[in-house]
Each structure stands twice: as C-alpha cells, then as structure tokens.
C-alpha cells in the first residue's frame, strides 16, 4: 500500500497518468463495497477510518443501500511497474429515474468498470447503463463480484457478459470486494486498458458539470471534469447555459475528503465552490468556462431535467401548509430536478403539484419531507403528463387530472417508454401476459444465456407508474429487473374517470385511464370508499363517472344506531372522555359536501395507487 508516495498534484498532473472511470452496477451488486476496497488499497483511507459504504452520504441512501448522488474520488495509485497514476473514480446512480445524471457521469469518463454479481448475473438497469457507456465509446472492463459466495457461478455469467460486450470470457475479471480478492488486478487493468484523457491544454477552459450537491456549510459543491484548458482558483468562471458568472472560492479534489488545490487541468476531475446556494445554478451537463477569454462552444449533451411523473402533495393538517412550502424550498436547493407549484384541491385543501423524474425520486422526496420536516402528508395518485388536442385543434398540456378539459377532445397523447426486462426464461409467459394487460407492445426478445431472457416492450408510462414493478416482481418471484426510457408519445383512447360522493366530485380521486380500464378503476375506487367512509346520517351514493355518465355505483346506507346502551355511575367519566375525543376527531374530518370523510380514509383510498416501495 503506497503511503507518502510522491503523487502528482491537482492542477499539475500530466493527463497521461490519469484514468477516469466509473462503476456501472446494479443496486446491491457490491459497488460501494468495491469502492471502499479501492479507497483502502490505494491508501486514500486507512483501515481505521474505513467506514462501510464510505461514499454514500445521505441517510436514506444508507438505509436503502442505494447511491443516489454521485461522488468523485481521486485515488493516487502506484502501479506494479512503479509508475504513479491518478485514478478518478466516479460513482454513478443506478436507478432508472436518474438516467440523465448517469449519462453525464459517463461522459466524464474514458472507461467503465462493469460490475456484476457472480451469483445473479446482469440486471436490466445495468444493461441499460452499459449500452449507454458503449454509446459513449467508453472502454469497458467486465468484472464479476462476490466470487467468494458459494452461490457464485463465474463461468456462466462470464460467458453472459462476454456475449453482451463482445469480448472473451477470459477477459472478465473475478473479484470479491468483500475479501479483497482480485482488487489489485482490477486496479492494474484500469491503468492498462482505460485510455488516458485527451484534451487541449492551451485552449479556453471547458469543464463539464456531472454533479452538483448542496452542502449546508459550503453552499453548492459542483463536480466537474476538465476537458480543455485549466480552471484556476480565484478566477471568475461562467456557466455556459445561462451566461451567469461566479467567483471561484475554492477548487480541489476529493481524496476522499475535499483537498483544496490551485486548479484543475486537462483530464482531471474535482470540485468547485462558487458560494451559490442553489443547485439550479450549477446544472448537471452544463459547461463551465472562464469568464475572460472563455470558450465559445459548449460541450454537448446538456439537457434540462424533465419531470415524468406528477403528484399532488398535501399536508394532512391544513395549517402545516407554510411548513410544507418551506420544506420544498429547502429540498429544491439540493434537487435540481424537483419542480412544484401551488395547487388547491376541494377535497384536500392547499398543497402542491410536484413533478419528479420518476417513482423513486417521488418517494425519496416524500420521505425527506416527512422525516426532515416532520410533516404528515397525503399524496394523490401519481400521474403522467398528457397532451390533449381539442376539437378546435388547440392543445393543452395536462399535469393534473382535474385540469382535463371539459370541452370536446379530439385526441389525447400519452408518454410511452421503451422498457427492458431481464428475467428467468420460465417466467416469459406470465410477463408477456402482464405487459399485454398494460397495453404493451413487444419489441423483441433475446436470450442472454440458456435461462435468462431480455424482453423489450413499449409501454405507456401511465401503466408503469401504477404498480407495474410490484406486479413484475411478484410474477417472477422477485427475479425480474426493469429499466425504461421515455421514447415518445402515442395517441390513446383515454378518458377521465371522476369519483362522486353524494353527487359531489372528489378531485383527489379523479384519474385519467384507458377507456377499457375505466370500469375497473371505477369499481375499485367505489368499493374501496364504501369500506373506508363511515356511515353518515343519510344515505351516501358513491359513483364513478365518465363525464356525466355514471359507470358504477355503491351505496353507503344511513346509520340508524349511534347510542351507548348503558350509562351508569361508573361509566360516566369514560363516556364523557369518549365524547370529547369524538369531538376532536371531527376536526380531523374533511367535509366533501355533507359527507364527513376521515383523513385516514383519504390516505387509504389514495394509497392503493401509490408507487410500490422499492
């Protein structure tokens, strides 16, 4: 383990000794453990300071065992041949919601370590990210992890990987991040096969932002990969997407803690601190250049974050609205993709319509709001964006089912995704049935190995945000994996189903569904509400309707008995307290017209349509 080696300094490192790589891996295939091992073996973290999953920084991530935010670590490495190298390890998010961030992290690298669990084989998300890496011309180093496990099948999965990448099974490295086996060989392979970065040191500075994170003490920390030129401290820089100019308060590398430096040169990976407080001012994919004699052409690939899934978020207690607003404002500082605007619901009061990159993103935001801001929230069923073309050819974009136009509609377009499902071949039939039920179209099917299949389907995004993933998992005993990407829109026969209580529509329960599914949705909601809503002092019809046409109906009979049988001496105190509690309970009731609906009923009614817990 090289200690106190004369390492090349940041800002003065010859690109030829740099190797920029990321690790592409499924959530629990051991990426963080491998990263820890590499930190340890290069001496960047000594054994005592080694903490499991060192690179993960957020509690939720830690709990769920997933990485959401990228980190970039500079590892000084003395190779077997005695030469000193600088390995920049960029940790990437694995989840489908954050594909854009992954693509920018990949663009910051020349190579990728493809890490696959030797007992599981490649998963759909990993495959998708692999294709992304190949598209970006990255050199791939295939690695099988967890070979120490008795269940490991290295020959089988090495063959699978070789087949996918187009290399020889002998090229697949065998590693156990847990025990350390093979990690040294991996480091050597990184030096040997990943090309050094290439760029023009004399050209105007251009650095690509591949991540930005808000830190309460330091403000926004922006992670960059320098392509051309040199970024120096105390130089004013410019964000090319907006033209905004900033002072550079600090420049440095992470190794594994921040190490300030004089600057960063071609091929280097590090961080910038400008003092801004809002991550939206440091956009992933944007190009950073110097204010004076800056670059004229930005690096390609920048995109504004695109929310795909929307949901209404409401505080259960209406008086918490300001707290919710403040909490969202705070969360926004560290989440460039989160969008939201105020919204009112007749049923739920004042809240926000929020846009998310996907279901995981939505869940993370919800959890952070509930936990960090200590809020009790109701969220409406997640919905996608629709493009509605009216009879007069006017177009409306609908992000909230209640915005669905009442006028005559000519066509409705819904977003569709291309999805990749990897599963054991014995489940092909049941998964095909599921995809067909969800209005999917088969694009193709390939055998990755004797018993593993990759299926590709086009599916409406709306069918995925429901409970598709849970259904997929349950039909395949947990073995299937799923990835998808937005691939356009399609014209669909969609209708808006309203749910009416005692004749009054409850906006929170309205949904846009395919015409063929309207009845199923209506029946599900009306029967669920019949169980959840307590009997009132009058009969309550519950109806599902499309426009003015009622498609299904349930009735809650009026209550006839609401009296305590006995009230003698020893009962009086208890009875009085019960009455007082009931009066308090009334305050938690939401009134929908004359119908009293307990908050628990709203939450429960909407929870059938909440995304699956992953």
């Amino acid at each position: 383990m090289p200690v106190n080696a004369p390492t090349p300094k940041p800002g003065a490192t010859d690109p030829s000794v740099i190797r920029n790589f990321c690790i592409i891996a499924h959530i629990d295939h051991g990426k963080s453990t491998l990263a820890d091992r590499m930190l340890q073996q290069t001496g960047v973290v000594d054994d005592r300071a080694m903490r499991a999953q060192y690179l993960d920084r957020m509690d939720i991530e830690r709990e769920r065992g997933i990485t959401i935010k990228s980190q970039a670590v500079r590892l000084p490495y003395r190779a077997v041949d005695g030469a000193d190298y600088v390995l920049n390890m960029i940790d990437t998010p694995g989840h489908v919601d954050f594909t854009y961030e992954v693509s920018r992290s990949l663009a910051a690298c020349e190579g990728a370590v493809l890490l696959v669990d030797a007992a599981q084989g490649i998963e759909a998300q990993t495959l998708a990210n692999l294709y992304l890496a190949l598209e970006n011309d990255l050199t791939i180093i295939p690695v099988l992890n967890k070979i120490d496990l008795p269940a490991a099948q290295p020959e089988k999965y090495a063959a699978e990987l070789a087949h996918i990448i187009g290399c020889s099974p002998d090229d697949v490295l065998l590693v156990s991040a847990k025990t350390g086996i093979g990690v040294g060989e991996l480091l050597e392979e990184i030096v040997a096969s990943i090309p050094a970065p290439v760029g023009d040191a004399s050209a105007p500075a251009r650095a690509m932002i591949f991540d930005s994170v808000y830190d309460t003490y330091r403000g926004v920390v922006t992670y960059v990969r320098v392509i051309d030129g040199h970024i120096s401290k105390r130089e004013r820089i410019q964000m090319m997407s907006t033209g905004a100019v900033h002072e550079l308060l600090e420049v440095g590398v992470i190794s594994p803690e921040p190490v300030p430096a004089a600057g960063l040169g071609v091929g280097e990976v590090g961080y910038l601190i400008t003092g801004v407080k809002d991550v939206r001012q440091s956009r992933v994919g944007d190009t950073v250049t110097s204010e004076r004699s800056g670059a004229t052409e930005a690096l390609g690939g920048y995109q504004d974050p695109k929310p795909m899934v929307f949901s209404g978020l409401y505080p259960i207690d209406g008086s918490d609205y300001p707290e919710l607003r403040d909490a969202l404002d705070k969360l926004k500082l560290n989440d460039a993709a989160l969008v939201y605007e105020p919204e009112t619901s007749l049923a739920l009061g004042f809240g926000f319509r929020c846009g998310f990159l996907g279901l995981l993103h939505m869940e993370i935001v919800r959890e952070r709001l509930e936990r960090e801001a200590n809020l009790d929230l109701i969220s409406t069923a997640p919905n996608v964006i629709y493009r509605v073309v009216l009879d007069d050819d006017k177009e409306i974009v609908v992000t909230n089912p209640s915005e669905f136009p009442t006028q005559k509609v000519s066509r409705i377009y819904e977003p569709i995704v291309k999805s990749t499902i990897i599963l054991p071949s014995e489940f092909v039939g049941t998964v095909m049935e599921l995809c067909q039920q969800r209005r999917g179209t088969l694009l193709g099917m390939d055998y990755l190995s004797e018993d593993r299949v990759e299926m590709r389907y086009t599916l409406p995004l709306a069918e995925i945000v429901f409970d598709f993933f849970d259904a997929l998992k349950s039909r395949t005993r947990g073995y299937a994996s799923l990835d998808y990407e937005l691939t356009g829109e399609q014209d669909a026969d969609l209708v808006k189903v309203d749910i009416l209580l005692h004749g009054d529509p409850v906006d929170a329960f309205s949904a846009i569904v395919h015409r063929d599914k309207a009845m199923a949705y209506g029946t599900m909601m009306t029967s669920k509400l019949k169980e959840l809503i307590p009997r009132q002092q009058f009969e309550v019809p519950i109806q599902a309707a499309i426009g003015s046409r009622v498609i299904t109906r349930e009735t809650i009979r009026a209550i006839r008995k609401d009296v305590l049988a006995k009230c003698y001496g020893g009962d009086i105190s208890r009875k009085r307290k019960l009455l007082e509690k009931q009066k308090e309970g009334k305050k938690r009731m939401k009134m929908v017209g004359r119908v009293e609906v307990p908050q628990e009923a709203f939450v429960a009614a909407l929870s059938t349509t909440e995304p699956p817990k992953k």
């Binding site: 002092q537 009230c567 003698y568 020893g570 009086i572 105190s573 009931q582």
Partner: protein, 374 residues
Amino acid sequence: MYVHVPFCASRCGYCDFNTYTATELGDSVHRDTFHESLIDEIRFARQKISNDPRPVSTVFIGGGTPTLLGADALTSILGSIRDEFRLADDAEVTTEANPDSVDVAMLERLRAGGFTRISLGMQSSSPRVLQVLDRTHTPGASVAAARMARAAGFEHVNLDLIYGTPGESDDDLRRSLDDVISAGVDHVSAYALIVEDGTPLARRVRRGELASPDDDVMADRYLIVDDVLSQAGMHWYEVSNWARPGAECRHNLGYWHGDDWWGIGPGAHGYLAGERWWNVKHPRTYAERLTSGQSPEDGREALTDAEKQTESVMLGVRLAKGMPTEYLPGMTDAIGADLLSRGLVDEQAWAAGRLVLTRAGRLMADAVVRSVLE
C-alpha cells in the same frame, strides 16, 4: 350509595365489569368475610364526610353477583349504611341477584332486612342465546326468580335483557319479552350487546367464531322492545330503561340527574362536590388498604364547569323528560331545524322549549348529544 360486590361463580363472555371468579382470586380473598371490608369503607366514608347531614336516599348493591355473599352479609351491609348515615324513610334499596343463587328464603330475609327492590340478570329466554353469552342459568329460572321475589313481598322487580346477540332471532327476542311480561315485573332494562375490548366475546368475534352484532339489526330489535313493553304498560324513561308509572329506578335517576353518591367496593366510582373518584380494582388490594387504615381510592378528577355541563347534557338528553333547549351549549337554530327535520326530536316538546328524543332520536342519542354540545 352504590356497593360493589366483585364476585361471580363464572365469567360471562361479554362482561367487562370488575368481577372475579373463585379461581381468579385463589386464596387471597375470602368471599364469605368480604362484606366486612365493605363495611370498613362505609365507616371510612362517614368519617371522610362527617359534616354531611344528608341521609341516604337510595342504595344499590351491584356487581358481580351480590347474592353470592348471602342474605346475612347483604343485610349487615345495609345495616351499616343505616347506622352510619341514616336511611331516608322511603329509601329505595336494590340488590342485583342471579337467578341461580336466590331462593324464597333468601328473598324473604332480604325483604325483612329492608331491601325494597330486586334486579335480575335474565338477558334472554333463548337457550341458544344464553349459551353464546355464557349464562349458566336455565331460561325459565329468571322468570321463576322474579315471581319468587314478588311473592316474597318485593313490589319492585327489574329484569335485565340483552338483545342483538349473534345467533339471536327476532322471535327469540319476542319470546323473551313475553316471558318478561308474564313475570309481572314493573321495570325492564334492555341493552344492545356491546363487544367490549379484552373480553372473551371480543376474542371470539375477532377470530371469526362469532359474527359481530349488526347495528341495523339492533336498531330493529330496540324498536321491538319498545313496542312490546309500551303496549304492556311499561314506558321508557331513559334510553335503555322502561318502567310502569312510579316504578322508575330512583338510584339510576340519581346518576342521570348528577346527584351525589358514594361508591363502596373495589373499582367503584363516587361523585361528590363536583369531584369524581374511583377505588382500586382488585379486591385484595382494596381490603388491604382498608385494614391498614388507608383510603381505597385509586384516582380522582375534579370536573371543570365545561365538563360538568357536558355530563349533564350527555345524561339528560337520554331521559324521557329531556332537557330545556336553553341549557344546551351548542344549540343553534340550524341544528334545531336539522334535528327536527330528521325526526330525532319531538316537535311538541320543542315548541315548549325542551329537547325530547323521539324513538329514532333515542337510537341516535350520541349523535344528537354531539351536535348540541359546543
């Protein structure tokens, strides 16, 4: 005064009163001398409120099964009350009795000892219903006991009924009511079966062995009870209580009027000078406290004016004579109009400034109370 006798021969599945079987108590408590502890408390009570000049106007011995103590113990308890507090001349003195544990001799001794009223837990005439309720007496025993009581000189006899038991049919109830009327009693208390948490009945319902009592069925059965008893000359004076004129239970009316009372015995509640208190529940702890000269009290609450008002409305609305509308803190014209339009309160009484529940209103009494409280 209320006196609580916490002993039963066996436990009925629906009961959540403070009562214990011999097995549950083991050797720690002696049933045959327990009345001495009750008398200890009576003396303790006298000392506690030594300045209170009022005689006792009603006595109610309940439980459990008071008659398990035997006539002598019961009469000596009454005697102690008489000695320490004086009994009013026309005092009403009731004891509950289980049909299995009374005979003519005992009833005559009770009558001689000063008891004026007997209350019997009949529940139902149907063997099937009695079985679900874990009642040990045979169907005819209650009617027989009631007749024995009348024969022993008790002018006032009450029979308790429970309706809505899973498996009960309308006919079962009608037959029970017929039997009640043929017994010649002047008071009936009829209750919808409540499945109380923690009882064996609750467990059976939860396990799916028994259906849960159905609210709508119980509403219908209440109407049957009211119809049959009214036709037989017993009129409702409280939501769950019917009596011939002059046979209303004065002790219970005392509760519902907010009168003062002292509760003797384990777990008993008392109410004096706007404060309510309750005794420790276990008979052994109770007895030990008194032996060592300590109060058997376990806790108390001092009622605020708002709480007193809530109680007075909550109890008063349940009575046939109702309440003056001006006493109701949450009353508004809108609420009044709503109650009238839904047929829950009597129009004539309303016009005369009183809220009196109609039959439909009695079934919805709690809802009415909630709407007229602030």
